[in-house]
Amino acid sequence: MTRVFISRDTVSVALGADEVAEAFVHAGAEVVRTGSHGLFRIEPLVEIETAQGRIGYGPVDPEDVGKVLDATHPHRLGRIADLPFFASQQRFTFARCGAIDPVDLDDYAAHGGWAGLDTARALQPGEVVAIVKASGLRGRGGAGFPTGIKWQTVLDAAGPEKFIVCNADEGDSGTFADRMLMEGDPYCLIEGMAIAAHAVGAGYGYIYIRSEYPSAIATMREAIRRSADRVAPFTLEVRVGAGAYVCGEETALLESIEGKRGQVRAKPPLPAIAGLFGKPTVINNVLSLAAVPFILAEGAEAYAAVGFGRSRGTMPVQLAGNVKNGGLYEIGFGVTLGDLVERIGGGTESGRPVRAVQVGGPLGAYFPPSMFHLPFDYESFAAAGGLIGHAGITVFDDSVDMARMARFAMEFCAAESCGKCTPCRIGSTRGVEVIDRIIATLPSPLVGEGGAKRRMRGSEVRDTSECPPHPSHAFPLPQGEGESQITLLRDLCDTMKFGSLCALGGFTPYPVLSALDHFPEDFGGATALPVAAE
């Protein structure tokens, strides 16, 4: 019987993979549901097992089954690993994603699974921590704090009870690597958590998954059930969020697991000292924990050999938004932003010029193409006024209105603020109002001249349909009002940045200020000077 591999990743399913799989079953094929390889342009992807290996076809419609089976389908892609998109990657964490049946324990073991855990359990906890330190692994969820140091703190903390918490509250727009890994290779995360548990002496772990990821929740629960004996005495549990973005912040997440409102805690104490239920707690992102099995199995040096500067190893980069080859691309740090967007991403899907890319989710900075020379690395991005965050890259074409995006950032912060600290709670609402006043000073998109030139760029139809005219357009504000409001906005951002308790209020200024700095023409200012010479 012909064996056929079809992804059950949410993206593939949303694009019709279930119907395609059903059609193959009807045609008498044996269908194995895998995760996605991460090039969404070719989903639903069908791979047929042949003597030459798996041959891919995609995208495939349910009515094309016959053509795929007799190898006459026009979307024949050959071996997926040979496609340029995949051939240029270094897949440490996502090596199995797309290849295996996610919850098949034998498949996992046959593809190198559990080697890291077996290595770790043959070592003393301190030795495991030393290996993670030597690998240079830094937190893949945001700020890039060294993972090994965090583990060392928990290992050294006194107490009979410790916890491993996985932050799977991947709420940033433009990021989906956590979801893909949990849906496509859940044992990799489980193994990483079991290694962490051995390294610090924890017996119980929680995976906090956002409720917007029902498929990831179901897959993780099934995988936890099936692997319970393998990871025992370590025990795992899934906790489901309830639609609060701020719970991606580690201390808010701990509060939420404890059954409280997801409000941030002031630090110190660090969660490593007094975390979940007041106990020493390792809290890491999905990608940080999922990187650990490779490090233990292949050695710290193999991991650290890849990367750039102090950013070691690989980063699963997520190419999102208006981009042709959108998807997951795992590569060592150091590749330039332009390479990621233009060469690998293929530019915009709309075919229009790229105007802005937001890196690191809704709290990340917007960069213009003149900054595409930036190497993808924590320090370089920080120096350029941005952050890598969870490595989501959202591409916008030239129809984007950056004043509107800046307003959206403030609006999002206002909607999602936990309310505990004033700069975030009130500052974000004031921020929306100030940006509204700035927009009100601008000539209306349809009647303006001169300064409105930029706002006229792109599609006029889009301007009318997507940007309901602000009510204040009818009441033009005094000359110079825009400028003073921009000063006020910068001042407000400064207050939020340095006065907020957590990253939500503290980082919202990144998208706002970068939009102002790099796209002043959208706020009624002079065109930005190219900064390519930097």
Partner: protein, 155 residues
Amino acid sequence: MGASAYLDAIRRLMPRETDTRGALLPLLHGLQEEFGYIDDALVPHVAEALNLSRADVHGVVTFYHDFRRRPPARHIVRLCRAESCQARGGNAIEQAAIERLGTSMGGTRADGEVALEAVYCIGLCATGPNAIINGKIVSRLDGPKLDRLLEQVTA
């Protein structure tokens, strides 16, 4: 709904291990799944079952976007409003849905049948604009596709 139905449900949905810590969110999820929303009348029973104050439970129910305090509309259309979907024409889809359904974002149609809600990212950021329509995730929305889907919902 009578108090006894609530007490039954709470007993049934309570995490099996009595020492399970932080049981409030799992319990509320379970109750919402069962009743469709968290009735204010449930709050004192939940508080008592978990040895919390009513204010604690009320605070949690009202903090999280997922928990509803009223019965939901029969059909729920959730549109992604986040940046990646905006970059792919999400704003036009949002406007079209608002016009088509005759309700605002966050509102329910006059007949109470269809609600239009915002969601901020469902993790399909390269194939947007995305929506969750009655629990089913749909990707690469355009005008005609949206029309077809809403027709099924509003028929």
